[in-house]
Symmetry: C2
Subunit: 341 residues, 2 copies
DNA sequence: CTGAAAGCGCTTACAG
DNA sequence: CTGAAAGCGCTTACAG
């Protein structure tokens, strides 16, 4: 009780019972221990009077569980991840888990540091949106449950993320349904990210099935944010083409952002003669006029599935249960940039 | 060593030394303990071979310090806070601290829960952007160092945030310098948030000093996001006025967002005959065309100052050191919506 | 230069 | 129905 910290033995002393009694009353371990109402009351009163809160670090040391689940995010500034964290936090809370998050900012070294840190702090499980695979092996060795989100890694970790092929197909179908035929696409120039390739593949085969054509494609640097260079590339392409496509598809939200800023620079209005549609939602999509139609990720679903997978691993504790992959269906956010023509 | 967890005594055994030796070698406590090179080498080798990582929960229990600093944010989806977390994370890392963040989503009850949780987990300090004062008393009672950011609370906690009066003044000065005279303002209708009042006060006195006039003011609901009702209010005001003001000021980023969407609805183009300027930056501000000029918060500065204040409290450990308030200067993001006329 | 021992604050068999 | 004791994995006086 010195220096403000009330401990369990302070409570025991005050209640005139053994410390183990306090512990059991507080944890309602009543299977084998039916304490008298009087004892329970004494303990509760002492707890209240003293304002006792158990030390989770002591408890963790004893039980080996911290009830802490870690989320290692690649980009805390991306609304996808912050919304994800928000939902995870809510869901986990119901199961008595607390979420702690850290941000690698797409830096693999930082990712490893943070993973090591989370492990050292004894998290009971980890959800990571990877930037490369550095540090992931640490988790494997430690036997701490792991689920990877957003970007699948070639190693077979449990994974939940968007069905990217389907997203591409859905875009193709919508394009056809709204009578767009000649399609342009903007995509990041990255071999690493299979996600992107899948989206493109889905789009291509979808387009073919629908009898549409991919009239051009421009690649932009795979940096996270909209940049001058990307901008240039698109503007140049647009200037060079004699006739514009019916619609332009952004493979990622950054691509779509670049598309609209390029169009603005050229004083082209989208949503009338020129359709725009993107994969992945973003804040500005609904703010910009005309607002942008996109297929997005069902973030809450992803959060739920991730937690479910993690919880299963925690409960089964045998690492023997095989890794699962959950692909979730994209959802349409139909706005103004792709009207029926 | 059973079940994958390598402990310090495993290392000691393998190195053939006492566990205390391992501890001291690892922590380089060499003031009084000059171990022989041979011993040090033995220990390090054992550590490597075994892949030992110290248990921070055990260490915390022993030392009473977790080296964990908590950030309780009111809105993880707000880029201001996520950027803040990003910078904090970086700065703290250099001092051996790890940041854990949680999100109250502007829910006071959740705020209290999260504060209790962070405290139970033994964080060494807390940075909170409050939604009301619920739970803050818990921190005070616990003697854990605290610094409040963003919104000052009437209780005298250490605080770092924007100099809001100055922000208002800076806007007034810029308006004058760019030859705008008749000014409209949009502001949230909230008595609670003194921040807002300060901004308005700064603007008003600034405007007076500069010989400009506040020609009208519209209040919108104090909800966090842009909404239909706010939109209506502004549109109606605009329709009713015979002649528009020279420029409209958004007191918060949400206000500014509402201003531009209202203007869009009325097919009014800002940045030409009608200036727009806001307090507080936001993502769309640079995406929308014409882009929006704002005075924003120097987020990194705020992160640095917050950490400095926290660290001081941690080091001095005497709660006797008085609460400090740090007000940081706003910074201009000059874009296209407020050209010189 | 190195070790033996106590203790941080809990939980949980084991006993009665 | 209740208690005494061991132990989770560390650090740190204390001793030598």
């Amino acid at each position: 009780m010195k220096n403000g910290k009330v401990t369990m033995s302070d409570v025991a002393k005050r209640a005139g019972v053994d410390i183990s009694t306090v512990s059991r009353v507080l944890n309602s371990s009543f299977e084998k221990h039916k304490y008298s109402d009087k004892t329970v009351a004494k303990v509760r009163k002492a707890v209240d009077k003293l304002g006792y809160h158990p030390s989770l670090v002591a408890r963790s040391l004893r039980t080996g569980k911290t009830m802490l689940l870690g989320m290692v995010m690649s980009d805390i500034g991306n609304p996808f991840f912050s919304e994800m964290a928000f939902h995870l936090d809510g869901i986990m809370g119901e199961y008595g888990y607390r979420l702690i998050v850290c941000n690698t900012n797409e830096d693999p070294e930082r990712q490893e540091e943070h993973i090591v840190g989370m492990l050292a702090h004894g998290v009971d499980g980890l959800i990571v949106s990877p930037s490369g695979k550095r540090g992931l092996d640490r988790i494997e060795n430690s036997d701490v449950p792991l689920v990877v989100i957003d970007r699948p890694l070639s190693n077979g970790f449990s994974f939940v993320g968007l069905d990217n092929v389907l997203a591409g197909k859905m875009v193709a179908q919508k394009l056809k349904a709204h009578n767009y035929r000649r399609i342009g696409v903007v995509m990041p120039d990255s071999k690493e990210d299979l996600t992107l390739q899948e989206r493109l593949d889905g789009l291509k085969t979808g387009l073919k099935d629908e009898g549409c054509i991919l009239s051009w494609k421009v690649c932009i640097p795979p940096t996270a944010v909209a940049g001058e260079e990307s901008h240039r590339a698109i503007v140049n392409k647009l200037k060079k083409e004699l006739d514009y496509p019916d619609a332009i598809v952004g493979i990622t939200n950054v691509c779509t952002l670049n598309i609209i800023s390029s169009l603005e620079e050229l004083d082209l209005v989208w949503g009338e003669s020129l359709g725009v549609v993107g994969i992945d939602d973003f804040t500005a999509a609904s703010i910009v006029r005309p607002s942008i139609t996109v297929v997005g990720q069902p973030i809450k679903r992803i959060a739920e599935e991730s937690f479910a997978l993690l919880l299963k691993q925690i409960k089964e504790d045998k690492k023997k249960l095989k890794k699962e992959t959950v692909l979730v269906e994209p959802v349409w956010h139909c706005r103004k940039s792709l009207p029926v023509r």
